[in-house]
Symmetry: C2
Subunit: 252 residues, 2 copies
C-alpha cells in the first residue's frame, strides 16, 4: 500500500472568523484534492495577522505534503498573505516580472496603480499560478500554494495548478443512507468497523422533516474492500429491519 499524500488548508481572513462570510473553499478544495489522491488532514481559519500567518504556515508546511492557502492576496492594506509567505520561507519579497506582465496586459497603464502593483509582488523564486478571471496570479513556493479567497478565482487557480500535484492512492467511497437511527445500528456498525480495519466508516446522522436517519460513508483505497464492506453494511441494515433509502457505490 502506498504512503498517503497529505495536505492542509489554511483559510486566511477575519471575515470568516467574524461569521460575516461563509467559507466556500474548504469543501471544494478537499473534494478536488481527494480526487487526485491527496488527503486533507487539517484545515485552519486564522485572522489577517502577520505573526499568526507566519507561525501557522511554517507549522503546517512541515507537517503535511502540501499546504493550500486562500485569501489575502488582493491590493488592499489587509492583504498581507504574500509578504507573510516570503517571511515564513525567509525569502526576499519583490516585484515578479511575469506577474507584472500579466497585470500590464490586463490594465491600462494609468490604472496599474501602486496598490494593484502589490499583486505582482511575490516571494523570490515563486512559481506563478494563473488567474483567468482577474489576472493577478497566485503562486507556489515549495509545497505551499497561495490562492485567492474569492471562490470563483480559487477554483480557477486550482484548475491551473493541479498538474503540479502528485497524489497517492485515491480514496474510493461508497455511501448508504438508511431510515434507521444511529442508536439502532451503532453496535453492529462498530463490529463491521472492527472487521474492516482498512476501511474508514463514517456515520453521519441527519434530521429532516422531523425524522432522524443516517448516512454511512465507507472510505478506503482498495475498491474490492469498499465493495465488500458496502454489501456487509447493507445486509446489516436489512437484518435490523431498516430500509436502504439511497446507495451510491464506489465513487472517487
Amino acid at each position: 500500500m502506498s504512503t498517503p499524500v497529505t495536505a492542509a488548508i489554511l483559510i486566511i481572513g477575519n471575515e470568516i472568523l467574524s461569521g460575516r462570510t461563509k467559507d466556500a473553499n474548504l469543501s471544494f478544495l478537499a473534494t478536488s484534492l481527494n480526487e487526485l489522491g491527496i488527503q486533507v488532514r487539517e484545515a485552519r481559519v486564522i485572522p489577517d495577522l502577520e505573526d499568526v500567518i507566519i507561525h501557522t504556515l511554517n507549522h503546517l508546511r512541515s507537517q503535511f505534503d502540501y499546504v493550500f492557502t486562500t485569501g489575502g492576496i488582493g491590493p488592499t492594506h489587509d492583504d498581507i498573505t504574500a509578504s507573510c509567505v516570503a517571511k515564513a520561507f525567509g525569502l526576499e519579497f519583490g516585484l515578479n516580472d511575469d506577474a507584472h506582465a500579466m497585470l500590464k496586459s490586463h490594465y491600462k497603464p494609468e490604472d496599474l496603480n501602486e496598490a494593484r502593483l502589490r499583486m505582482a509582488h511575490t516571494p523570490k523564486g515563486a512559481i506563478l499560478i494563473e488567474n483567468p478571471i482577474s489576472k493577478a496570479p497566485g503562486f507556489q513556493v515549495e509545497n505551499v500554494f497561495v490562492l485567492a479567497g474569492v471562490p470563483k478565482i480559487t477554483c480557477a487557480m486550482f484548475d491551473n495548478l493541479k498538474d503540479r500535484l502528485k497524489g497517492g492512492a485515491t480514496v474510493q467511497s461508497a455511501t448508504l443512507t438508511t431510515d434507521l437511527t444511529e442508536g439502532v445500528i451503532a453496535q453492529k456498525l462498530g463490529d463491521i468497523q472492527d472487521q474492516f480495519t482498512d476501511i474508514d466508516i463514517g456515520s453521519y446522522p441527519y434530521f429532516k422533516e422531523g425524522a432522524f436517519g443516517v448516512s454511512l460513508v465507507l472510505r478506503g483505497t482498495d475498491e474490492n474492500r469498499v465493495d465488500q464492506c458496502q454489501t456487509t453494511v447493507k445486509e446489516m441494515i436489512e437484518s435490523l429491519g431498516g430500509k436502504v433509502i439511497y446507495i451510491k457505490s464506489l465513487e472517487v
Copy 2:
C-alpha cells in the same frame, strides 16, 4: 478599553475534511459569539483521531478564553470526542446520572441500548448542555463546550449554554458596498486604516454578474469611531466617483 474575550472553534469530523459535508456551524457560532462580545480568533477542522483531538484541544484551551467543539458525540464507533475531552483534562470518563436520566425520559427501556448509553457518558464533573431535539446532551468542562455536529442541534445547544458565557466589549460593525474595485480604492483605504487604528477595516471583493465590486466592513468596539470611519469611507468612495450601492450602519 476592556480586554477582549476570545474563543476558538474546533470542528471534529472526517466528513468535513473529505469535502463530503460542508460545515455550517462555524459561521453560526462566530456570529452568535460576536453578539455576546466574544471574538473568535481561530477555527480548526481535524479528523476523528484521538491523539489529534487531545493535542489540539489542550493547545486551544490554553490559548483562548473559550473553546467550542462540534461533532463526534453520537453513539457510533467514530464518536470519540467525549472520551478524548476526558483524556485531555485527565478526568475519569463514565456514566453521568443526569445525562442518563435525560435519555431514560426519551427512550423506552428496550431502546436504550449500549450504544445509546454511550451518549450519557461524560468526563467526571462535566456540566451538561441540554439538547431539546434528540435529548443526548452536550457538556462543559472548564472553558471547553462540547456540542453536537448536526447544525440544528448545535444551534439549540448554543442557545442553552450562552447564559454561562461572559463577553467583553461588543464589536460593532458597519458595511459599505461599492461598484469601485479594490485596486481603485486600495491606496486611500489604506490611508483611512492608518488614521483609524482602532477600527479593523476589511475589504472583500466580490464578482457578480460579470462585474467586480467590493464590500468594506468596519469593525470596532467604539461606536462613535465606527460611525466616523463610515462617514470617511463614504466620502472617499464618492470622491473617487464611485457609488455606495449598499450601506448598513452600526450593527452588532
